[in-house]
């Protein structure tokens, strides 16, 4: 929403920014030189924005093939002295973790900020893992902003801290930070000088066992220094209120709920807000809790803070009672709200009456029809799923993958039996096929193919697995908002066709077909499923929304009232959102219709024709 021009040129004033945009602004104010990422909700707008402005602000930005590559690239840049930012969704850090954990040993020279955007409540993810554990696992400092303003400031601080400690810094957001817009005060964009040079230091940067052990000890020393910095960090602060016996400890977005819940319940409890949340400021926590009788820890997902506060409190002679998830007062899954935190406070403090009625819930009866996300009108995946359903049906197991096509599980198409993580369709299909001794189908998108499927494809070829790999190639990374990938045409970039990759991996049966050529595609799938070896079928057709955005329009289709018998085949077989029943008759909405023609193909009466 924010005008890019304002984001990169204004030196003062206020802008309404999302957490992601605020991180971009922070990176610019902080002198960023290199930005890398693989897109993933809720982190995507960081790299989208940096990519768009890269030329204007003079930085290098790229969409890397996956998060591990993105982090390795950012590490190489930071070790060579540049300030680099690498952003990813929470599960992306799993992919990058191999690089990430050892990178803590070598450390960096230029500032390196790694943004991990967690997704409590799985708004757009396959799990709701808590990446605060990664700070502990790798032993690197972590910042957790509570709003856009802090997201900007902490990005700048993270660059500085990274250079001071020569360590990468984690900046953890959650969906409600990444995608909430709030006012952000701007500071001048100054030219920040940096010295880019790779200074050879084998003992530090070549992680053979002998060197790694030494660097591990050095990392522990650096983290002792980080602890001192955390004790004095302005991001770790107390909001003092009148109550002498009750205190609240909180970090990140839950601070917002805790603050409002404290006000609404009139608790007047002091709040220790932790913005630099790893390493925890042990002494500050001790000072805060030592005179309290009750301490409530508020955090979404895992009881990480709570466990650590419990452990810190063990050195006190008189320990306060600590309330949290381990005392069953707060939930351990899904995102919080002020109401949930008020309920947690009430349970912890055994409040008999709550000053305001917090349960105004008017239950919506389940007669309201649900509206789950569905494949868009004109989506070429709909044709691919229709083809699968009418050729292989329920006879095979469909291992699917991360992307729009996961929506194939919705009725009426209902294709998708197993989905775990990026790229898992191929490996899981191999496992299913080897076990059941029958062919299995792997469904994978174009961007996901490049992200994490190639080693699994090589494995299937080498071990002669009977899998049919269906690459649903819509020529863009559609789910996250149309980012490029190595298989697309882009001026100034090298295109690597998926069919060449498949052939290079040793696949013998490689076919490219337009899923709108239904009969041809059906024949190819029938041939592939009969093979004793892996095959790759690339179903290539541009994403209908992406095509529209590029200004290409096709004439919509129309149902002839004379020929239509209202058999509803189009509706019951395809489930296209552009086809409706209005006053008992089937109609095509000509604004939504993209003119793909799939409904015309399947209409038994041939009653659907293109207009224009």
């Amino acid at each position: 929403m924010v005008k890019l021009e304002e984001l990169i040129t204004l030196h003062n004033g206020k802008l309404l920014l999302s957490g992601n945009e605020a991180i971009v602004r922070g990176a610019i104010e902080g002198g960023i030189k290199v930005a890398t990422a693989y897109p993933g909700t809720p982190s995507t707008e960081i790299i989208d924005t940096l990519f768009k402005i890269s030329k204007k602000v003079g930085i290098y930005a790229e969409y890397s093939t996956n998060e591990k590559v993105a982090l390795e690239l950012a590490s190489g840049a930071a070790i060579s002295g540049a300030r680099a930012l690498c952003s990813m969704k929470h599960v992306g850090l799993n992919v990058a973790s191999d690089a990430f954990i050892t990178l803590a040993y070598t450390g960096v020279r230029g500032g390196l900020v790694i943004v991990t955007a967690d997704d409590p409540s799985c708004w757009s993810s396959q799990n709701e893992q808590d990446n605060r554990y990664y700070a502990r696992l790798a032993n690197v400092p972590m910042f957790e902003p509570s709003n856009s303003q802090e997201a900007k400031e902490m990005t700048i601080s993270a660059f500085k801290l990274s250079e001071k400690l020569e360590l990468p810094i984690l900046l953890r957001t959650t969906t409600r930070i990444s995608h909430t817009l709030g006012p952000v005060s701007l500071n001048p964009i100054k030219k920040i000088s940096s010295h880019e040079e790779f200074v050879r230091d084998t003992e530090r940067f070549v992680m053979v066992p002998k060197n790694a052990l030494v660097m591990h000890d050095k990392l522990l020393k650096k983290m002792k220094k980080a602890l001192q910095i955390s004790e004095e960090s302005p991001y770790n602060k107390i909001i003092r209120k009148e109550h002498k016996e009750i205190g609240i400890i909180v970090s990140g977005n839950p601070f917002n709920y805790a603050y409002e819940a404290n006000e609404r319940l009139g608790l007047k409890a002091s709040i220790l807000k932790l913005g630099m949340s790893f390493p925890l400021p042990v002494q500050q926590i001790l000072d805060f809790i030592k005179d309290l009788k009750k301490v409530i820890v508020v955090e979404e997902l895992e009881p990480i803070l709570e466990n650590e506060v419990r452990s810190i409190s063990s050195s006190l002679k008189q320990r306060p009672i600590i309330y949290g998830k381990l005392t069953d007062n707060f939930p351990r899954s899904r995102e919080y709200s002020t109401k949930i935190v008020m309920s947690g406070f009430s349970k912890s403090l055994s409040l008999k009456s709550i000053p305001e009625n917090i349960d105004l819930t008017k239950k919506t009866s389940n007669s309201t029809p649900s509206r789950p996300p569905v494949l868009c009108p004109g989506c070429p995946h709909r044709a691919s799923f229709y083809i699968l359903k009418t050729t292989l049906g329920k006879k095979v197991i469909y291992c699917t993958d991360i992307g729009c096509y996961a929506l194939g599980i919705q009725p009426p198409l209902q294709i998708g039996d197993l989905l775990i993580c990026m790229g898992a369709s191929l490996g899981t299909a191999s496992g299913v096929s080897q076990t059941l001794k029958e062919p299995a189908v792997a469904i994978v998108g174009d961007s996901t193919f490049f992200h994490a499927s190639i080693p699994a494809l090589l494995n299937a070829v080498h071990n002669k697995h009977r899998i049919v790999v269906l690459v649903l190639d819509n020529l863009t990374t559609a789910m996250t908002g149309f980012q490029p990938h190595p298989g697309v045409e882009l001026t100034g970039y090298e295109k690597i066709p998926i069919e060449n990759v498949a052939k290079g991996c040793g696949v013998k049966y490689v076919k490219v077909v337009d899923p709108m050529d239904i009969d041809v595609a059906k024949k190819i799938i029938k041939n592939a499923i009969a093979l004793d070896e892996p095959s790759v079928i690339i179903m290539r057709h541009i994403c209908s929304i992406y095509e529209r955005r590029q200004g290409v329009r096709h004439y919509p289709y129309k149902i002839s009232e004379k020929d239509c018998t209202n058999c509803l085949a189009c509706i019951k077989i395809l489930g296209c959102p552009a086809i409706h029943i209005i006053e008992e008759r089937v109609k095509i909405n000509d604004v939504l219709c993209c003119g793909c023609g799939l409904c015309a193909h399947i209409c038994p009466q041939k009653a659907i024709n293109q207009t224009g």
Partner: protein, 202 residues
């Protein structure tokens, strides 16, 4: 507490995010503190979309608690029903009567409820209901995609919003492409002018 909570709901593709961001921008220009909470990604693909805009000095939480919306702007009738839990007897509902049937209902045993039934359920919660055929007015404005602007005009006329009408109109225009500005101006005025007519009595 000093807060004004607006829930904006609809179907992916209707401009729920844009409408929320317009209100956020206009709030900043009015010197108000604001939080606009959006959801991107998977949830947007033709599914129910819910955004919240919170205005006021003491606003911290991005989201609105159940029962605490001052205004619910619904771009589609059953979406208002789905989020009824956010309302209280004082809540103002502004509802676009133009229905979008979820494609899933044609292959399930559920039916899209009668419009009159939907409004009866809303009326059972609050008497402050504004109902408008935003599609009809958007078409009059020359652009069916301006339904959300019609709705913004309507809520602006209700005088509940702590944002001035002229400022809101200006903000909308400043955020859209030139070729759509004229139709949006008309859409806003049509929404504004139909305020009295949109009131549901009884």
């Amino acid at each position: 507490m000093d807060e004004f909570n607006i829930l904006i709901i609809g179907v992916g593709g209707q401009g729920v995010l844009f409408t929320s961001e317009v209100l956020g921008e206009a709030a900043i220009k009015s010197g108000l503190n604001v939080r606009v909470a959006e959801i991107h990604g998977m949830a947007q693909r033709g599914g129910s979309v819910i955004c919240s805009v919170r205005l006021g000095k003491d606003v911290y939480s991005p989201t609105i608690d159940e029962g605490r919306a001052h205004l619910i702007l619904s771009l589609e009738p059953i979406e208002a029903l789905r989020q009824l839990k956010f309302a209280n007897p004082e809540t103002v509902f502004a509802v676009n009567m133009n229905k979008i049937e979820p494609p899933g209902i044609y292959v399930s045993d559920k039916k899209y409820p009668e419009i009159s039934l939907i409004f009866n359920r809303l009326k059972a919660v609050s008497k402050n209901i504004l109902a408008i055929d935003a599609l009809k007015l958007a078409n009059e404005a020359g652009n069916p995609a301006t339904q959300n602007t019609v709705m913004l005009g309507l809520i602006s006329a209700s005088k509940k919003l702590p944002i001035k009408t002229q400022l809101l109109k200006k903000t909308i225009i400043s955020l859209i492409k030139k070729k759509f500005q004229e139709s949006n101006k008309i859409a806003f005025i049509l929404g504004f002018e139909n305020y009295e007519k949109s009131k549901i009595v009884g």
